[in-house]
């Protein structure tokens, strides 16, 4: 116990500092510098143009789409877009690197000096972005028993690397930052954001310093963090490790460390001394990139509303709660679905309720994506309108929704087929109520003697014989009238 509280005391003297390097594969049709497709393919060495393989004499030609996407990413992250940027070669040997160098950007990246804002534990956090640059992905090196194999399908796939300033101070903030970047990229449809498959990858630079100290501590770089959970856990582990080292009076070594999720530990991969000297220099095969102000402005127009702007708007425009609006804007496809529902003139609040409680709930059960939702937003909107017009009750609505989900049929059709339309015709209702009153004279007497709690009993009985189709409001009114007469 004593040891624990001592540990906690020591811990509270330290401040955690985290910076991120995020690599995102861009969803272009072809690779960064060659015409072969850049999308994932199961079969090994299928997308291997001569250029991707770095065959003698081949030259890179820049994919213009990558310029557009990376500029849009930079603008979405509030960056300055450099009118002139330069591709550089990063030289090192590895079997998955066909040319013996990676084409990247070094001294003059395409985007610099931006920032991103996001919510973390109810507080708004701002993280500065140092730069966004373009580079090519490497292939994949596999070890199979006594032999090693290389798959070059991924070699040359375009990446943007987003480098943040060391502005995050907790594992949760770091994870939230990655979540936000992912959300932004997915919103723009420039990256599919899959951490597990590696289309979005994140390296964390972690250091600790005394709270009283202004100087950054020695950092370590954490790699192999392929889920939000691992990002938090790895940083948590690393922070504790560093504090422990410093408390013991030792020094943290600047190095790259690999996170092992099964052991929940980080391991040294290579120290700074062992790190390669990449010998960056401008790639003579590629001209510097020149972007006009007009072109940059055109790219700005291509950027969709951000999730934060959308969430704000949903609160203001549709009166949703912050929680609802964040849930709905979590994915662009959800937000799009929601707004398509509203196009049918269905009420915003009811639409939000249905989306969150029915549609999203079902996705969680079925591990599905809203993109392949069997119920179209238009169908759901129509159904909600029927509830609003009191043509059906909410309870019936759920039945109709299930049927829509299973059959993909329109609500009107389903209601007709199953005879689910709400009964609000006073003549029909009246005869039903009469029937029940006549059937239960004892209960009627009880009610009249002041046992008002029994009121619900009559409603339930009428509902039963109406198969749930009686309009509850009209029914209420009529039962009250009949009992009191």
């Amino acid at each position: 116990m004593e040891q624990n509280s001592q540990h906690a005391n020591l811990r509270s003297e330290w401040k955690t500092v985290i910076g991120l390097e995020i690599h995102a594969q861009l969803l272009t049709k072809s690779k960064l510098f060659s015409p072969d497709p850049s999308h994932f393919v199961e079969k090994e060495n299928e997308h291997i143009h001569f250029i991707s393989l770095g065959l003698p004499g081949t030259l890179p030609v820049l994919n213009q789409k990558v310029l557009e996407y990376s500029t849009q990413v930079g603008l979405a992250l509030n960056c300055h877009i450099n009118g002139r940027s330069v591709f550089a070669r990063k030289n090192y040997f590895y079997p998955d690197l066909p040319k013996g160098y990676q084409i990247s950007q070094y001294e003059q990246p395409i985007c610099e000096n931006g920032y991103i804002e996001f919510e973390c534990k109810g507080k708004r956090k701002k993280v500065r972005i140092q730069r966004v640059h373009i580079e090519e992905d490497a292939g994949r090196f596999h070890h199979r028993g006594h032999c090693s194999l290389v798959n070059f399908n991924r070699a040359g796939v375009p990446l943007v690397e987003i480098v943040s300033m060391p502005d995050m101070n907790s594992p949760a903030e770091a994870a939230e930052m990655v979540r936000s970047i992912r959300k932004i990229l997915k919103y723009m449809k420039v990256c599919d954001g899959n951490l597990e498959e590696g289309s979005l990858r994140c390296d964390c630079n972690v250091s600790v310093q005394k709270i009283s100290d202004n100087k950054l501590g020695t950092r370590t770089e954490l790699k192999n963090l392929n889920s939000f959970k691992f990002i938090e856990k790895a940083i948590e582990y690393e922070v504790n490790r560093q504090i422990h080292i410093l408390n013991e009076g030792h020094k943290v070594i600047q190095e790259t460390r690999l996170y092992d999720s099964t052991k929940n530990k980080t391991f040294s991969l290579r120290s700074k001394e062992e790190a390669s000297d990449y010998r960056y220099f401008p790639d003579p095969d590629l001209l510097p990139v020149s972007l006009s102000k007009q072109w940059i402005e055109e790219q700005r127009k291509q950027i969709p509303e951000s999730f934060l702007q959308k969430a704000d708007r949903f609160q203001k425009e549709y009166g949703l709660s912050p929680k609802e609006s964040f849930l709905i804007t979590e994915e662009r496809s959800r937000a799009d679905y929601f707004e398509k529902m509203l196009k049918t003139k269905a009420s915003a609040q009811l639409s939000a309720n249905w989306l969150i409680n029915e549609v999203l709930a079902r996705f969680n059960e079925n591990r599905m994506d809203i993109d392949n939702c069997p119920v179209t937003p238009e169908q759901l909107g129509e159904m909600i309108k029927m509830i609003e017009r009191k043509e059906i009750s909410g309870k019936i609505g759920k039945k109709v929704f299930s049927e829509m989900w299973n059959t993909k049929k329109n609500p009107v059709e389903i209601i007709k087929k199953l005879g689910l339309k709400k009964i609000s015709d006073p003549n029909i209702l009246s005869s039903m109520v009469e029937e029940i009153i006549n059937k239960f004279p004892k209960q009627v007497a009880d009610y009249k003697n002041g046992k008002e709690k029994i009121f619900g009993f009559f409603i339930g009985e009428v509902m039963k014989i109406s198969k749930g189709q009686a309009d509850p409001e009209a029914l209420n009114k009529m039962v009250k009238e009949k009992l009191n007469s």
Binding site: F50, L53, G54, L55, P56, G57, T58, L59, P60, V61, L62, R89, N91, F93, Y94, P95, P98, K99, G100, Y101, V150, D277, R279, Y280, F281, P284, D285, L286, L287
Partner: protein
Amino acid sequence: MSTKCLLWWIKMDLLNYKLHELTSLIRKKALSVKELCQFYMDRIEKYNSELNAVLTINPDILQTAENIDKNLNQYKDLPLLGIPILLKDVFCTKGIRTTAGSKILENFISPYSAEVVRRLEKAGAVILGKCNQDEFAMGNSNKNSAFGPVYNPWNKKYVPGGSSGGSAAAVAAGLCAASMGTDTGGSVRQPASFCNLVGVKPTYGRVSRYGMIAYASSLDQAGPMTMCVEDSALILESISGKDEKDSTSSIKEVPKWLHNCQSQNIKNMKIGFLNKEEANTSCSPEVVQSLEQVKTLLQSKGALVEDVSVPIMNMSVPVYYLISTSEASSNLARYDGVRYGYRSDFQNKKPDHLEEFYSQTRKEGFGSEVKRRIIMGTYCLSSGYYDEYYNKASQIRRIIRDHFVKIFSKYSLLIAPVSLSTAFSLEENPAGTLESYLIDSFTVSANLAGLPALSVPACFSSANQLPIGVQLIASHFDEQTLFNTALLIQEELKAVGKRPSYLV
């Protein structure tokens, strides 16, 4: 003369025809493409063993030739119809081995052809085969080849120059109608001078580098090596122009150089003669004399000739070797034995780690001059040295370029030596020595500045009877002035077109 007699006469004289004359014989069916190819193949068979200029013969050559003969009507308007061309072995050729003069690519067969090759073939040329060269185009003697040195047809104790030494020797010895070389620091112009040929290094960006094995990407340009000025103009016209596959290729329109080629009326044209004293080295008396001869000729034709000072000239060689080796160290990293090319057998032991795999393969696969330059370039780019070497060299390179641009605002043409002397003997200038690098003193500037330059035969040395060329340098994209002035020199000094007598 009877037709039979005429044909016999033509074939005896094939070596003396210019390319456009050969194509017109083929067009008239006075000569078949197959006959012409066979003619050169016979000469290769006869002379190559003593010259070592040709490394590989295109196995499909006769079939290709036959195909053109059979469908002559379809091809007959092509500018290089049926012209058999040899290529320096840095041009990738689909189906024909491409070695770059290196053991590391000894058995490499490219799955695609270089853009230059594609354009030559599209213009009707037939690829006869591939020529010896300095390994990865590094050298000026052709002694740095994994396939042995090339011998100068004018005197086999002498080098043909380099790095396009095989391409030069092959044209001089009449083993092909023309050849293609590449020029990074003088590798077309210097061997052209040593073998009595016309050699052109076009403006950087004129010719696509796609499929040309890179030595130093910002300096490399392909260029023709031919017996006369007109042939060079014709070939260059066929291979120039924008290629979408090479981002550094220029969209500048390609003029009709051959059509516009006429010995220049140079009356009142301002021509600068490079002040040789500003280089770090000096030229042989014969070279000085050849320049005087040219100066006298140009003056007699009314040109305004002046000496031009380029004080930064003495920086050219060091700047060239810093930039070219830096780029080379990166360009040659891909030869690692992983995907293609030579891989060490590690004496049948599995290498202990990846570093050993790389170092052993590259140690065995590369020759010593290539390794020297890779090490030099790696050093130049290393952290802590980058600013001092690569960066500084790039800055000076820009100053050199600006200086030349200024010169060409005043002069239409600049005349300079090609090399310091005639061809040197095989024993002289061992690789890696400072002397061997200074041989490039007068050629590297055009590469650093991206300017077009041409070497044209001027005279023969009275000391060793070897040919000497002079270098013409023009402003960016003004190859026409080079061709026109070179044509005047060709017509007046009459050194162009001469071959060693035993080969005729």
